[in-house]
């Protein structure tokens, strides 16, 4: 092999090794962790718990409920929605549930990875091990926290269209995933009023759906 050919091969190998070396594996397709999610977890704030985790890793979220990365707080505390007459959220979501977001995010991932409709998406992440799954859960928690206005800038992953690009998420898959999240919230003891009037609005917003469906 001539010196030039060797240099070409070496440079290709070096840059190729660097290409994915920094990835933490918390990528597309969330996975269930090996730890069981308790459906009886009660969502309450606790002064001793930490609501969010560091978002220093650039992990993705996928096939999860997420709002736009420009996080508008969808929950208000202002009484009836005058545009539709429907009740508005009467709970301070961040004060009441903020500290429990990491737990709920973990339960969502656990259940999605065990769900037959989503298991194939999540299996590779689960196969990467607990650390990768935990990183993904942390990223999801950051996203949820930002999405409901409890934090700002905690989530540093890709946008929702980017995170779901190429997955071809259908309306049915999106709907079933939202239903899964509802089950997690119910199981965690969140009252129906809070689910329906506080957590629902971004999840059933067609504009948000369009960022995930069909990407």
């Amino acid at each position: 092999m001539t010196r030039t050919k060797f240099s070409v091969c070496l440079s290709v190998l070096v840059v190729a090794l660097a290409a994915c070396g920094g990835d933490d594996g918390g990528d597309d397709g969330a996975g269930d962790s090996s730890s069981g999610g308790s459906a009886s977890t009660t969502m309450t704030t606790s002064a001793s718990t930490t609501a969010t985790t560091s978002a220093s890793t650039t992990d993705n979220t996928s096939a999860t409920t997420d709002a736009s990365s420009t996080t508008d707080d969808p929950t208000t505390d202002t009484g009836a929605d005058s545009s539709s007459g429907a009740p508005a959220c009467a709970t301070d979501v961040c004060a009441t549930y903020g500290a429990a977001v990491p737990v709920v995010a973990g339960l969502i991932v656990d259940q999605a990875a065990a769900d037959p409709e989503f298991a194939d998406f999540f299996a590779p992440l689960v196969g990467e091990g607990t650390e990768a799954v935990d990183a993904f859960k942390a990223s999801l928690a950051n996203f949820i926290s930002d999405a409901y206005g409890c934090t700002s800038g905690a989530y540093t992953g890709p946008s929702m269209p980017e995170a779901h690009a190429g997955m071809g998420i259908t309306q049915q898959q999106y709907d079933d995933f939202i239903a899964l999240i509802v089950g997690v919230l119910q199981g965690a003891g969140v009252p129906d009023d809070d689910i329906n009037y506080c957590f629902a609005p971004p999840l059933v917003d067609p504009a948000f759906e369009a960022m995930i469906i069909g990407q």
Binding site: A19, G21, A113, D120, G127, G183, L203
Partner: protein
């Protein structure tokens, strides 16, 4: 051109040329490695096996998927044995992929295979036993091509029909498996219609299987119904 200048610059030009070629090759290699055909390449590149995003998917075998499935479902194991393994007409753990494919063919279903699963859309009335409704049915198979999950998904047109469906489905599962492990919501039209994300659900956990029925108000007049059976 000054030949002395050329001779001085030639080594640098050579290095730049190598770097340019290397960069182009890198783009080509990485780009190819992110295609379905190229992903197996990742396992042969040092350092990528455990950290590159697509390496895990590229190396996952059917046995790997089985292992992950059993691991993730272990938390849902119940204490009592199941009186029946019937899953919308298919036997969990014993029905074969061939059997499912024959059923699909017999009912002229358009099915798509992906990984360890088979998804059939536009399921006609009469393709399933009485009481089961599905727009889409999703089968999961283990490494030996036995049915380990059956998931029926459909969209219902209004709150009253949604409430009736979940009430009947819950009753059918109670007759088949006994009392539910968990139940939430009220199977009434008023409850289903109250607001987006109103949900009625029942879950049955047994030692060898998990079954769930749920119906959810998704807003905009949509109600999503699911009936799921999983071998543990």
């Amino acid at each position: 051109m000054d030949t002395r200048s050329n001779r001085r610059h030639k080594p640098w030009l050579r290095v730049l040329g190598v770097l340019a070629l290397g960069s182009a090759a890198f783009v080509a290699v990485v780009g190819f490695a992110h295609t379905p055909a190229g992903r197996p390449l990742l396992r042969y590149l040092p350092g990528m096996g455990s950290s590159c995003p697509h390496a895990a998917a590229a190396t996952m075998t059917a046995d790997d998927r089985d292992r992950v499935r059993v691991q993730t479902l272990a938390q849902y194991r119940g204490e009592a044995p199941a009186a029946s393994r019937d899953a919308a007409g298919f036997q969990l753990g014993s029905a074969s992929r061939d059997e499912v494919e024959r059923w699909a063919l017999a009912h002229a279903l358009a099915c798509t295979a992906a990984g360890s699963s088979l998804r059939c859309d536009a399921v006609p009335a009469g393709a399933l036993p009485p009481g089961h409704v599905a727009d889409t049915i999703h089968f999961g198979f283990d490494a030996r091509d036995r049915v380990v999950s059956v998931d029926l998904s459909s969209r219902l047109p209004d709150a009253a029909i949604a409430a009736q469906w979940v009430e009947r489905s819950d009753a059918r599962l109670r007759a088949q498996l006994g009392e539910p492990t968990a139940q939430r919501g009220e199977a009434t039209a008023a409850f289903m219609a109250r607001a987006p994300l109103a949900q009625v659900a029942s879950e049955f956990r047994r030692t060898e299987l998990r079954a769930k029925v749920s119906v959810t108000n998704l807003g905009h007049g949509r109600f999503a119904a699911r009936e799921t059976y999983q071998q543990l």
